[in-house]
Symmetry: C2
Amino acid sequence: MRTPVSHSSKGPLDGYTIIDLTRVLAGPYCTLLLADLGARVIKVEQPGVGDDARHIGPFVEGDSAYFMSVNRNKESIALDLKSADDRQIFESLLQTADVLVENFRPGTMEKLGYVWEALHERLPRLVYTSVSGFGQTGPYSKRPAYDMVVQAMGGIMSLTGQPGALPTRVGVSIGDLAAGLYAAVGTQAALLQRERTGFGDRVDVAMLDCQVALLENAISRMQVDGRVPGPLGSRHPSITPFDVFRARDGWLVIAAGNDAVFRKLCAVLGLHGLIEDPRFLTNHLRCLHHEALKALIERQLNSAPCADWQEVLMSNDIPTGPYNDLAAVCNDPQIQSRQMLIQVQARNGQSLTVAGSPVHVGAHRTPLVRQPPQLDQDRQAILASIGIS
Amino acid sequence: MRTPVSHSSKGPLDGYTIIDLTRVLAGPYCTLLLADLGARVIKVEQPGVGDDARHIGPFVEGDSAYFMSVNRNKESIALDLKSADDRQIFESLLQTADVLVENFRPGTMEKLGYVWEALHERLPRLVYTSVSGFGQTGPYSKRPAYDMVVQAMGGIMSLTGQPGALPTRVGVSIGDLAAGLYAAVGTQAALLQRERTGFGDRVDVAMLDCQVALLENAISRMQVDGRVPGPLGSRHPSITPFDVFRARDGWLVIAAGNDAVFRKLCAVLGLHGLIEDPRFLTNHLRCLHHEALKALIERQLNSAPCADWQEVLMSNDIPTGPYNDLAAVCNDPQIQSRQMLIQVQARNGQSLTVAGSPVHVGAHRTPLVRQPPQLDQDRQAILASIGIS
């Protein structure tokens, strides 16, 4: 072979330094993604208090499991950005950095004296990523926001839940996590741009914008159908059958994406009559008659347990899967094999399972380089690295 | 000023070329993110048929709104990868490309003769991104998967919905969209790595892995609490009050993230008695007594409409927001001001609103450079660009 398959054991972002002023979830999730990929992330925290997430439960003898789940592979230094001495340290850190990430409410960085335009003049290669509730511009810019606020405002909650039932949140903090993801995309795009132009740039990601971006075809569906879409329980809005179904002892998923798979599904379930049933001939017709179809499928599924049905469906190459709770997720052989569960340790030595990184580049697999840091844990090493002792 | 604030009107990824073999949603969402950021995305589709998404409704006179919502800013060429002539064109395209993205089931690219190791030997700088249901490795690798399957298997559905009620899907295809996002993160990380090493790398993103990565602290919560978490309706698992509440004429969000905001909330709502109520003194206690607290808050909110309450809450800087349906989302001044709704056009000239990109780098704002392409629309221009006429 002319060239070996290249992969750095340190990760694809080895060599990049991120100064991380972020707190709680959206910002820290962005820097977690970059840290897992090998970037050096220096978490700058408020002295004495630290990231607010350190105070959100549940706790393992004083260590926040919430904090631990999104701060591995980062270093911590406590700096008071209102003190002259600490600001000098912060300045030295910025000199060595490729990226500054913050998720304060718009206006706070300006009050602290770190306006993008001025920083850009001083440090033209620095990428400056801001994650905020509503963005750096627009009428709501300075309003406070949390996950819950943007989930409800951005429309995803109006599509989630059972028809006619109570408002339902997406069961994870998708308002924060999505913003962290898009911010990681934007930060890396700015770094790639810098390779061409030599200049850093400002990345402005709003949690609310990201919720809208996740609506994908729902907005255009509304215009074509002329109806404001509501929640649909567990079924897909435009593909049928594509849903969770009840078998004798529980639930399973069947996702029949096209006519061929639907006909095979009918045959496998022994529902040969449905293949020629005029209500179910096309996906469009099946969507119109989804309730009747679901009832017929579930009547059949009731004759055997989930495991049996899944075996039959899988052996016929029909997309299916279990409806897993988190205990089942943690026991799933595929998820284990993909190293999607990694162990971090609390101060008392107790180990805690957290989700790994799903971004596999070459042979690089979420290495646990550093445990989630205690506040200010890396002060001496960080200062030494910038020539302050 | 020494250096101007730099921003390319063409976008930060201007100059990068992506060969895009992806279909339906997860892969196309990845390349949409890159296209919106300025990369040249050449969509290679099956002759006559094209991307499966072209056949998923709803339709605007034959043009799929589903397809149109995630394929703007891309070029299209139809190539039969089983024909020798077309394979030669495909080879020429790869020669000019920085990235190849595909979301076939693992094994398909190998059958087509495009094994990563061999391609890497021939084109050592090419980044090869694969998005699949379960990943390139592990016991389930070759199984078919769709959004629904991984949403149910990955655990997010077990956390979404009303307690004790029916299984509930996240109302958008988060199984696909999350994979597209993580794949864009991995693709850019590999491009940044190439700047250092000179070599492309293989990016392997599994939809199921991505669902696990979105569980953030839920896995560690399960271990600390010793309970498998279930769905919680609209409330946050570890912060109270952080929920959707009913006012006289509808629903609104209140997110009181800490004790100080909670006390202010009580004062603003005229619920002074709750401040010293031993059930609600700390966030932990409020989580234990969330039902009682919600009832007390809603009794008070019932005295006025949402709009009035939101004005009062906002003027006191308490995080709040409306529970918007998609019609309200499209009318929201902040979302409009952020240019999160853009217009694309169907063949018949009808214009369709779709979500824009939330990744703002410098002055770059989701430009609509190209309408969603008709199948094979850019054939001549693409062939000319690689010297074939």
